[in-house]
């Protein structure tokens, strides 16, 4: 079982933890419902669809309402610090998580560090994935190397590559966010210890990289409109987290996830006005096509 930690854009949404389901395109957790728009609900929806194909249990969610004021995030940081190291009493599996994906939280170095202390207390160290605000906090804390996977877009990769920037908003101008500089940005991120074991860089082309450089490039199918769509990065993170939780090796999982997300996007025939749930609905078909019909996936990983 794996856990997803994040926020929902509803100030009144309480801090809840429990198994997450998708019913009529709505995320359900502990009797609470939240629509899939983007952010952590989009990650969860994609993860659930992936788990269904893999016949894996649904993810366990730690969610709280936060509209950017940080109050919900702070409560969640505190809750995780106090509870993550223990078996969560509400977890049906009764076991520790093998993977945790941290997502939209208000970046807070102190809160982040306390969560990592709790992870250190877990009986078995899970695969740690970070994206969005939690990835920002991980980088700012100087502890990126403790993670197994980050899923930045090109702008966020430039932020990881800029050893001075505490947030993508402050990435220095000379570190341009251009796709043709991605190998250099990856190298720089590792050089300053601001990258985890693997990077899955999402963009016009997706890249899987480690400290040795780019290990795989995924560039088809191409749907340029996906760049404008909110949530397509979240779905990618959800897919890769579910694949890793199913014990697929991280590099292979990243390649499969990137291809699945692209193919699901292609099936949706998106415009820049398409909303992310239209892509989520195509994830099972895309994943099945890639897992069961595409012989090329192993070759690509070797390459």
């Amino acid at each position: 079982m794996f856990a997803v930690v994040g926020t929902v854009p509803d100030r009144e949404f309480p801090l809840v933890s429990g198994e997450v389901n998708l019913e009529d395109n709505v995320i359900c957790i502990q009797g609470k419902k939240v629509s899939v728009n983007r952010g952590t609900p989009a990650l969860l929806a994609a993860a659930i669809k992936t788990c269904e194909v893999l016949d894996q249990p649904a993810p366990f969610g730690y969610l709280v309402g936060d509209i950017g004021q940080g109050d919900g995030s702070r409560r969640l940081y505190k809750y995780l610090n106090q509870n993550l190291g223990k078996c969560d009493p509400q977890s049906k599996s009764g076991t520790s998580f093998n993977t945790i994906a941290f997502h939209y939280l208000q970046p807070d170095v102190d809160g982040h560090n306390r969560v990592l202390f709790a992870v250190d207390e877990m009986a078995q160290r899970p695969v740690l994935i970070a994206d969005a605000g939690f990835m920002y906090a991980a980088k700012m804390s100087g502890q990126s190397a403790k993670y197994d996977l980050f899923t930045p877009d090109v702008g966020e990769l430039a932020f990881l590559a800029d050893e001075e920037a505490p947030h993508p908003f402050y990435t220095r101008g000379f570190i341009l966010h251009e796709e043709n500089r991605i190998p250099e940005l990856i190298s720089r991120a590792y050089e300053h210890d601001n990258a985890p074991r693997y990077l899955l860089v999402k963009g016009g082309q997706d890249y899987v990289a480690d400290s040795q450089g780019i290990q795989a490039t995924i560039d088809s199918p191409v749907e340029g409109a996906m760049e404008a769509m909110g949530g397509t990065g979240d779905t990618l993170t959800g897919i890769v987290a579910a694949l890793i939780a199913a014990e697929i090796e991280i590099k292979e999982a990243a390649v499969i996830a990137a291809r699945t997300n692209r193919l699901a996007g292609s099936f949706a025939k998106p415009t820049p006005a398409t909303q992310v749930m239209e892509i989520v609905e195509h994830i099972p078909r895309a994943l099945e096509a890639i897992l069961y019909k595409d012989e090329g996936i192993s070759e690509q990983i070797r390459a």
């Binding site: 926020t7 929902v8 854009p9 728009n37 983007r38 952010g39 952590t40 609900p41 936060d66 509209i67 950017g68 004021q69 940080g70 919900g72 995030s73 939209y104 939280l105 208000q106 970046p107 807070d108 170095v109 102190d110 809160g111 994206d131 969005a132 605000g133 939690f134 990835m135 920002y136 906090a137 700012m140 877009d153 702008g155 966020e156 932020f159 001075e164 920037a165 505490p166 947030h167 993508p168 908003f169 402050y170 990435t171 220095r172 101008g173 966010h177 340029g224 409109a225 760049e227 404008a228 769509m229 909110g230 949530g231 397509t232 990065g233 415009t271 820049p272 006005a273 398409t274 909303q275």
Partner: protein
């Protein structure tokens, strides 16, 4: 006055070209307070800049306001009157971080996408409806998208009004740039 005054300042009450030694920073409880204080000081014509805090007082999703030290008391009085008071004032001893100031446009034919820093806003060029918001990682991004997508530029609340973080701030820059493009 707008967020873009970070980059384009009008003639103001304090002279320009000052060095760090005569500048200080106002530290606030959160980014929302910074945004409110910036509006108040802009309206009063003060020469201020919204910047990144120095490492020693950095906690996470931060902004500070750089002010001319010599005007500290007047500025504090202005803020007190407006009901938005800083936690503290710290003299500037090292260079402050500059916000990203690069815009990128992508024309999709019917749609136009504007990117500022890590935030992207896409509109339908004909109806001026905001059709998508993407990028960012702070928790107000999904909230901003929820409140803005599907509305026209004229109907939608601005990120300045309802955003709280650096990502919200970056989206405001994209929103203002979009407004300029729409008016051309």
């Amino acid at each position: 006055m707008s967020f873009l005054n970070i980059f384009k300042r009008k003639e103001s009450k304090a002279s320009s070209g000052r060095q760090n030694s005569d500048r200080g920073i106002l530290v606030f409880e959160n980014t929302s307070e910074v945004i409110r204080a910036e509006s108040v000081l802009d309206e009063e014509g003060w020469k201020i800049r919204v910047m990144g805090p120095p490492p020693e007082i950095r906690s996470g999703c931060d902004l500070v306001i750089e002010i001319p030290l010599i005007e500290e008391l007047n500025i504090l009085r202005t803020l007190e009157k407006a009901g938005v008071q800083p936690l503290e004032m710290v003299p500037v001893s090292s260079p402050l971080l500059q916000p990203v100031n690069i815009f990128q446009n992508k024309d999709f034919g019917k749609y136009l996408m504007i990117r500022a820093a890590n935030m992207k806003l896409t509109i339908d060029k004909e109806t001026k409806a905001i059709v998508n918001i993407s990028g960012g990682g702070c928790p107000d991004v999904p909230y901003l998208a929820q409140e803005m997508v599907g509305k026209t530029m004229a109907e939608a609340p601005s990120p300045r009004e309802i955003g709280h973080t650096l990502c919200g701030y970056a989206l405001q820059l994209a929103y203002e740039e979009t407004g300029r493009k729409c008016s051309l």
